[in-house]
């Protein structure tokens, strides 16, 4: 099985540790993973802002980079959702039947990390150790667009030393929403403040989620509040082997 990492543009530029964690984790599980350097962005920032034509080059780059692989793994529910649900729309609007065909072949091979671990590899225990109190925020696109369900929880429950505490109103959006965070900054911050309040009420040391964009938003608020709660991508928790000799 030829597996490619779609690291996502935001992880590439701002959160490379998440990409490195996916590589570490998959190699530990015996999966050889490649990073095709031709990849750029899934195109979601453009599509969700209304610039569909501007997303065409990104979607083209996506299918060019990943067409030859058996599976594409991405540490982002949002980008996986974009590839599986929006690429078809962008391709159809482009009027290029070749792109429509390429998208139809590539999109179904895109897996969000927890889907790949649980469904393709059949694993919930990935050999991780992370002795901390953690609360988990299910991001909207992983929850409602992809339907990852309880896969992240099944994985977290098997991590040695990890204590998982429930997040109140967990399924409510954190308020990031891509360009929503800027175009409607006041509403975004109001939503994020409530999310941060719920996170703090759990007493957890670490807020974990499967999308760094959402974590950048909630984490930015928690940091500004000097809350002492840090945010961490799920991939980094699953890659961790703290205290393992």
């Amino acid at each position: 099985m030829r597996v490619a990492l779609q690291v996502t543009c935001i992880n590439d530029a701002l959160f490379p540790d998440t990409g490195k964690a996916v590589v570490t984790l998959l190699r530990r599980l015996g999966v050889e993973v490649d990073f095709p350097a031709a990849q750029t962005c899934c195109g979601q920032p453009m599509v969700n802002t209304g610039y569909v034509a501007e997303a065409v080059p990104a979607v083209r780059a996506f299918v060019d980079a990943f067409a030859s692989y058996d599976a594409v793994v991405t540490p982002s529910g949002s980008c996986a959702g974009s590839a599986r649900h929006q690429h078809r729309i962008v391709a159809e609007r482009s009027g290029d039947p070749g792109l429509v065909r390429a998208v139809a072949e590539t999109s179904p091979k895109v897996y969000e990390l927890t889907e790949f671990l649980v469904d393709r590899l059949g694993l919930t225990d990935v050999g991780a150790s992370f002795p901390h109190t953690v609360t988990y925020h299910p991001t909207c696109h992983s929850l409602r667009m992809l339907g990852v369900g309880d896969r992240p929880r099944l994985l977290l429950e098997q991590v040695r030393g990890l204590r998982l505490v429930d997040l109140p109103r967990a399924t409510e959006c954190c308020g990031f929403g891509g360009t929503f965070a800027m175009k409607n900054a006041d509403t975004s911050i109001a939503m994020g403040s409530d999310k941060a309040r719920h996170v703090r009420s759990t007493g957890a040391e670490v807020l974990v989620a499967g999308d760094n964009s959402c974590l950048m938003h909630v984490g930015g608020l928690l940091s500004r509040q000097r809350s002492g709660v840090r945010v961490m991508h799920l991939a980094e928790v699953l890659a961790a082997q703290e205290g393992v000799a």
Binding site: F35, P45, A58, C173, T187, M191, S193, S223
Partner: protein, 475 residues
């Protein structure tokens, strides 16, 4: 009476609403209560997903052949003794209602809660003709007495708490009818009693009533109103003349189809297994109820929405407001910020679809008034994929403005299109971006982010550069 005319674009209106702590508290409490009730009663129905699918399919089938179902409805209504009027827009619909009222020489009408008549500004139009339109739904009464605007489809006074309502009743009832009792408290039962006493004299006096309809059954020409308080039943049965303003998308082919919606609506809307009052009437029944029945079939932008390939699913909407109650944006800013009688997620798509985009900044701001979290789609009883329609409308807004002076977003997106065309270009851009990050954080645009949120400092090396250097080998 206030109107939404001249409302600012969503971000500005939202900013003001977010600062209203009483509003925030009222909304969080009220939406939370309805949300939980809905979740409980929906969980009781084993075939809920099948019902949703059936509801969506019936609406799609009807919309696909809307013209013939409307003609069938008109024939059935006419056969049953009703007079059918067709209204292209608000002005035509308002003129019909005013003409009927004037023909009977009345200076007042009683009203059943109706979204269609709010959409067309009927009360204001009748006021200009010297006709008072009395709202008889409790929450609409609160809004009307308070010279206020509705902020929710189902519970239009959701932004008011009971202390505020008591004050409105004490201050305003006397000017338009029976005053509130001197010893009125803010207990719900006492407030309801005051409203009942105030309204009763209007019910008994009115010769003309105005309603909308939740559904219109084409095969028999039957209109249906679903309600909780019984005020609708009073208006539909006591007056001599009844005028109903009905959006053309309200038609359902048969009673069998209606059954699906009567099961979907109450659980989605009020979180009840069944609503207290379901009134149905078929034209005129001799010596029983109104003896003159008019039905105004209203377009007012609905055919525009129907022509929108992605957006036409919005016409499935049965106005339950489940999407409002689960929306994290609505919960925080309330309904007024949307600048329309249709607020929340459904309003963010219905208004642009019915009015068209590229005309005014307020309407163009609505498709962006969402984080695209998808909670609305999950609860919609007729499966309207609101996030997908929002994204499609954003593209329409952008396309409507292409060719003018490029905005900052236009420039950024054009730049993104170029950079994201190849991995090599992105790699180069990342190297420059790292140099510019600290400087960029000081730009005015960045303040939208950094006003309340810290920015990540950014790594020394991108993932791409790390992979190139190590092939993913060592850190």
């Amino acid at each position: 009476m206030s109107t939404f005319v001249g409302m600012p674009a969503f971000p500005t209106a939202a900013r003001a609403a977010l600062a209203d702590t009483q509003l925030r508290h009222n909304l969080a409490h009220a939406t939370g209560t309805i949300r939980d009730k809905r979740a409980r009663v929906v969980a009781e129905v084993a075939d809920w997903e099948d019902l949703r699918t059936a509801g969506a399919a019936i609406k799609d089938r009807t919309l696909h052949d809307l013209a013939s179902y409307l003609v069938q409805l008109e024939e059935s209504l006419t056969r049953a003794g009703a007079t059918v009027h067709w209204a292209r827009d608000a002005a035509e619909a308002n003129a019909v209602v005013a003409k009927v009222a004037k023909a009977h020489g009345v200076d007042e009408v009683v009203k059943v809660k109706s979204m269609a008549t709010q959409e067309i500004g009927l009360n204001e139009a009748l006021a200009e003709e010297g006709i008072a339109a009395w709202e008889t739904d409790l929450a609409e009464l609160i809004v009307q007495l308070g010279d206020d605007l509705p902020s929710h489809i189902l519970v239009p006074a959701i932004h008011r708490n009971r202390a505020e309502i008591r004050q409105i009743f004490r201050d305003r009832m006397a000017a338009v009818g029976r005053p509130a009792p001197d010893d009125l408290t803010d207990e719900p039962a006492r407030l309801a009693e005051a409203a009942r006493l105030h309204l009763r004299e209007k019910f008994l006096r009115a010769k003309v009533a105005v309603s909308g309809a939740n559904f219109a059954v084409a095969e028999t020409g039957t209109l249906v109103v679903v309600e909780s308080e019984g005020n609708g039943r009073m208006c539909l049965t006591l007056p001599e003349v009844l005028v109903s303003v009905v959006g053309i998308e309200k038609v359902v082919p048969t009673w069998q189809d209606l059954d699906v919606f009567l099961r979907l609506l109450p659980r989605s809307s009020t979180g009840e297994r069944m609503n207290p009052y379901t009134s149905t009437w078929t034209g005129v029944t001799p010596s029983d109820g109104p003896q003159e029945v008019h039905v105004v079939l209203l377009d007012n932008g609905r055919t525009r929405a129907l022509a929108d390939e992605v957006g036409r699913q919005a016409l499935r909407c049965i106005r339950c407001s489940a999407c409002l109650n689960v929306c994290p944006v609505y919960e925080r800013v309330g309904g007024h910020a949307y600048g329309s009688v249709y607020p929340g997620p459904i309003g963010a798509i219905l208004n642009p679809l019915m009015k068209g985009v590229g005309v005014d900044a307020q309407t163009d701001s609505l498709p962006y008034a969402s984080s695209l979290c998808g909670a609305c789609y999950e609860v919609c009883p007729v499966k309207i994929d609101i996030p997908s329609v929002l994204v499609d409308l954003r593209a329409q807004v952008v396309d409507a403005h292409r060719g003018g002076v490029p905005s900052a977003t236009d420039v950024a997106m054009k730049g993104a299109a170029t950079v994201f065309a190849s991995g090599r270009r992105l790699g180069v851009a990342e190297r420059f971006a790292r140099l510019g990050t600290r400087a960029a954080a000081k730009l005015p645009l960045a303040a939208a982010w950094t006003g309340a949120r810290d920015l990540p400092t950014g790594p020394r090396e991108s993932f791409r550069a790390w992979w190139k250097r190590t092939r993913g080998g060592t850190t």
